[in-house]
């Protein structure tokens, strides 16, 4: 990544790729919430950053002034990359979303649970006797990529290739349009070939199912199909991998929480909601398409808004003791999966994967801590989670 001019004032010149923001954004957001609830930067050709829950919510609900046609803040004028429904606005959004929803209900997801447990068990067996592992690299990153591959009907072993594309599209591509375009071209070719295979050899998988899908009796267009497949691939992997990683980052440093989840495994689903709140991985973006104001702050058409569900989730006005992780928090209407019409389609899948990942690990490895001789590193950009998380067992 190119060297970035240092930030002196987060209110008027924030940069979400600044190393301090990448490492630990929470104190920055806390300061902004107090001093300047809607921050702005001239970087990235103009971006607003609401840090309060109510303002994030207001933007998420307002599809008249805020469009999803661009959902990632990039440094160069980005190509429009349709990935319906996440990049769709009303009225196209609803039919595009309804197409995908049935495959992602809790009941539909349940049939993947035994497979998830098997995946987790196999991964744990590789390192359980070694005294330690990188919980992000050896465990968290390997789970969702395999689950999504199975759902789409692709070989589990393609993980490395998928992760490379995701890194190029979501991280490297923010400042390097050439890398972005190359990765997009590669995913398109890859899916075209997979769709072609299924024309003569249909299978029980999402690619087959979506390539036959219709909206209002008409088959969906090839760009729509390719966009939806790319969305499922990208959105389902590093997001959940980041969420799982953050759970382990927390538990490695909080032995009491860890012990409680080992002793009371029935508490795990509640704790997962709290981890999702406190360490929500996904920040979306919107393009302002009509001048408006949010909380008194004028927003200009053509600029972007970073839609930080992670910041909303730390707003003490909405969540008492917002910076403390309370694993049995009973009231928790967090926004980790978004608010409004763009609620994450994969939320039920992600919740189950995170829960299973914790259950299987804690059964085998109840005690672990951060490796004091190694460094934890974090992803940057749209999705936040640990990318290196060396832990020691026992």
């Amino acid at each position: 990544m190119s060297a970035r001019p240092p930030v002196n004032d987060w209110s008027t010149d924030f940069d979400h790729l600044d190393p301090r923001w990448v490492e630990n954004p929470y104190p920055i957001w806390e300061e902004l919430r107090e001093k300047c609830p809607v921050a702005h930067t001239e970087r990235f050709r103009g971006v607003y950053f609401p840090s309060r829950y109510e303002d994030v919510r207001a933007v998420a609900y307002d599809t008249e002034h805020f469009s999803s046609r661009r959902i990632i803040v990039r440094e160069t004028p980005p190509p429009r990359i349709p990935a319906p429904p996440i990049t769709s606005d009303p009225p196209e959004h609803r039919p595009a979303k309804n197409l995908l929803l049935p495959a992602f209900t809790p009941d539909a997801i349940k049939r993947h649970e035994p497979g998830m447990r098997e995946i987790c068990g196999k991964l744990i067996a590789r390192f359980a006797d070694k005294g330690g592992c990188d919980a992000a690299v050896d465990y968290a990153q390997e789970i969702p990529v395999r689950v999504i591959a199975v759902m789409l009907g692709l070989p589990e072993e393609e993980g490395e290739r998928f992760r490379k594309w995701i890194h190029e599209i979501l991280e490297a591509g923010i400042t390097r349009p050439d890398i972005l375009m190359k990765a997009l071209g590669e995913t398109e070719k890859y899916f075209q070939a997979e769709i072609e295979k299924r024309r003569t050899d249909p299978r029980d998988d999402l690619i087959t199912q979506l390539s036959r899908a219709t909206i209002d009796g008409e088959p969906i267009s090839e760009p729509h199909l390719l966009g939806a497949l790319r969305l499922i691939l990208i959105a389902g992997i590093d997001t959940t991998w980041s969420a799982i990683g953050s759970c382990f980052w927390h538990l490695a440093q909080h032995p009491q929480d860890r012990k409680r989840l080992v002793d009371e495994p029935e508490l795990i689903p509640t704790a997962v909601e709290e981890f999702l709140r406190a360490y929500a991985p996904v920040t979306m973006a919107r393009e302002v398409i009509k001048d408006t104001t949010i909380n008194g702050c004028p927003m200009k058409s053509g600029e972007m808004v970073l839609l930080s569900f992670p910041a909303a989730n730390r707003d003490p006005k909405m969540f008492p003791d917002a910076d403390r992780v309370v694993i049995d928090r009973a009231e928790n209407r967090h926004a980790a999966f978004g608010l409004g019409i763009h609620r994450c389609i994969g939320s039920n899948l992600a919740r189950l994967e995170i829960t299973v990942a914790l259950q299987e690990w804690l059964k085998r490895i109840p005690d672990f801590r951060l490796d004091p001789s190694a460094k934890v590193t974090w992803s940057e950009g749209t999705v936040r989670g640990p990318r290196k998380l060396p832990v020691l067992f026992g």
Binding site: N98, L101, P102, F104, T105, P106, D107, P269, E273, A330, E331, N332, R333, H334, A335, F337, L339, G340, I341, R343, S347, N348
Partner: protein, 68 residues
């Protein structure tokens, strides 16, 4: 006092928290969106669950109504 739950179908976005926390009171349709089961009547023993579901709905789509 009788307690009834109701899901606002316009507001519901299918987070499915209510069905996870109070499956006796809420069901999901084929798209994963929620509705109250039956007429939404809540047996006394499930009143706490009704309020828990309400308190965990990110879209604030659940209403719990008490009548004397």
């Amino acid at each position: 006092v009788t307690v009834k739950v109701k899901v606002d179908r316009e507001k519901c976005q299918g987070h499915a928290r209510c069905a996870a926390l109070a499956p006796e009171l809420f069901a999901l349709d084929e798209l994963g969106n929620a509705r109250e089961i039956g007429d939404g009547s809540v047996p006394d023993a499930l009143a706490d669950k009704a309020y828990l579901a309400k308190a965990n709905c990110p879209e604030m789509a659940i209403d719990v109504e008490e009548t004397q």
